[in-house]
Symmetry: none
Subunit: 198 residues, 4 copies
């Protein structure tokens, strides 16, 4: 099958996403990768310098997804709760539907892939900055408990993330009785009541 470079490249990335998600980086051999992408092993190296580069390209593409979660320009304006609600819903919907990214991240963390850690730093900076800013404003307005906004932002996200883990990775069915929106509303409510300043 003769494809253009662009098409082949995409096919390789697609195959890699699938395999990295199901087998991890180490568990994905170039042989399987080539097979899945429909070309020879040697062919892979015309498009990517090495296996690691394929992996990095996948992660780097995913960084752009963050903008998808915060679509209205990088910063929640008026209403933090509404922004966060929508962001969380979008995050859950997308990652429940396609668990590739979640799994790649976890596999890489387990394999202690060095690139992942620098990637995660970047992601956390981009992802949490808008939330942290809003929380900071809340703290300044004495609406939110005076505590490290970084920690608070991550604790908020923890409930979203664990929900995702339970639904996708751990096959816990107890959340299935509720719509995503209901869960998110509950989390938002608990978090904001919980961090209210007294």
């Amino acid at each position: 099958m003769r494809l253009t470079g662009r098409e082949r490249r995409q096919k390789i990335l697609q195959a890699a996403k699938k395999l990295f998600a199901s087998k991890g980086f180490k568990g994905t051999t170039t042989q399987k990768l080539a097979q899945e992408a429909g070309l020879s092993e040697a062919g892979l190296y015309k498009y990517f310098k090495n296996k690691q580069e394929i992996y990095e390209e996948i992660l780097n593409q995913k960084i752009q997804d963050i903008d998808f979660y915060f679509p209205s320009g990088q910063q929640p304006k008026n209403n933090l709760k509404i922004e966060l609600r929508e962001c969380a819903i979008r995050f859950l919907q997308r990652n429940i539907q396609d668990t590739t990214f979640l799994k790649i991240i976890l596999y890489s963390a387990l394999e202690e892939n060095d690139f992942l850690f620098s990637f995660l730093k970047e992601v956390r900076k981009k992802f949490f900055t808008p939330i942290k800013k809003s929380i900071k404003k809340g703290i300044e307005n004495k609406k939110i408990k005076n505590f490290d906004e970084d920690i608070l932002a991550k604790l908020f996200f923890s409930m979203i993330y664990y929900t995702l883990l339970l639904k996708t990775l751990f096959k816990d069915e107890s959340f299935d009785a509720y719509k995503i929106e209901e869960i998110v509303d509950l989390i938002i409510e608990i978090f904001f009541k919980g961090v209210e300043s007294e």
Copy 2:
């Protein structure tokens, strides 16, 4: 050093726990394993059929550790907050120090290990039952918001678990500025204020 068969076996398992936890299953070679356990590679195969069997034996041992966190049958008596606080601190301390269990669970989940899922069901039942009971009592006393106690219990745990993930798996250093106790106290505070009935 002349050891009995039983001792040798234990030494191998000990070495394996250490290595699997820090390097993962694939990252642990039989060479390093033998070296760490103080015998030849060939020797490993006198005690275990193969590498997989060593891994499984550790998994089984680790699973039994769960009782450590939740002394069997024990039920939070007087003060849920205090019970939960101690349980959470114990959970974090142990799993930060030895990440084997956390990693094994995640690896198994990623590999869609069927045994894991039924095991997890069991764990969740054991783990969450005492918390859920207390929450239920709180709901009945109108102290806690009237919502599915299963979900509430898991949302509480989510913050503990994500803290663990950030510290151990994702190499996020932002929690390192605080003692575990401080983080747990914050989580407890947020959660209980957050779920308070109005």
Copy 3:
């Protein structure tokens, strides 16, 4: 850049000379070769059957260079020392600047290339004949020790050749402190004093 077939061919050969000289035959990949010659790898095969053929063509060209050192038929006329001095300087300068020939000869000798040996016979005949004639005259004039002029000629050349080896192949820096002319003058002095008849 649109080149004629002839030009392209020349460009490939030029690139190949450069690369073979600095990286050797095995160290020169068709990829680098194509890049250096400014065309695609596939393009190389329009002009040459394979890599070996490029190598052989260069070898042939280099062999013809020999005439440069020993303008054909030329015989040292008046002053052997001056002739030899200039020939040696030319030989060293050229081969230090472009080591292709030196390396090709050595590679071929190591590979016991039969063609090389008959070629070398020819070269030695051409190369040493003028020197030998002059030495013979010196012997007849009782100026030079009476010994096999073939051996004497080769011993003279040995110092020139080893100087070349040290400087180019063996990366010995001790000759770098001197100009080529100084070294050659020293060699000439030692040789002629050394072979003087008593």
Copy 4:
């Protein structure tokens, strides 16, 4: 075939010497090496960390040969000429009989093997030091022309070395008419007359 570790190690080194000498370092594949040594490729790596290490071991063993050329304790005492004569004869005899070392060095130099260059530095230091010292003494005694003793020592050796190259590598038969001793005597005579101070 079941050999002891020591025997196998020796067999590998022997095979490597043979192959490196006839094919060069790059031209010697681990496959051929294993085959020649009578074990599997994987087996090689029980005895050596990698191909390079085998190569280095061979060279390092050869460094001891230098003591063989200067057997009477490291420094020529009374008579430099006699010492050098014997050293040169021993050098030629040994390397004519077994050209392995000569060829390995040349191949490595052509392949620009980094380890070779540091090895050569070591060798030159050890090999030329005694000769240089004697020459220096000669210079101080005004018996030898006042010139860089390093260069002089190397020019002496150049005639020995080129003789070796012609006889072994370049298949030049003109030296075959003479005994090694005769050639060496001639070289010694030419060199010492040539460098005599006036």
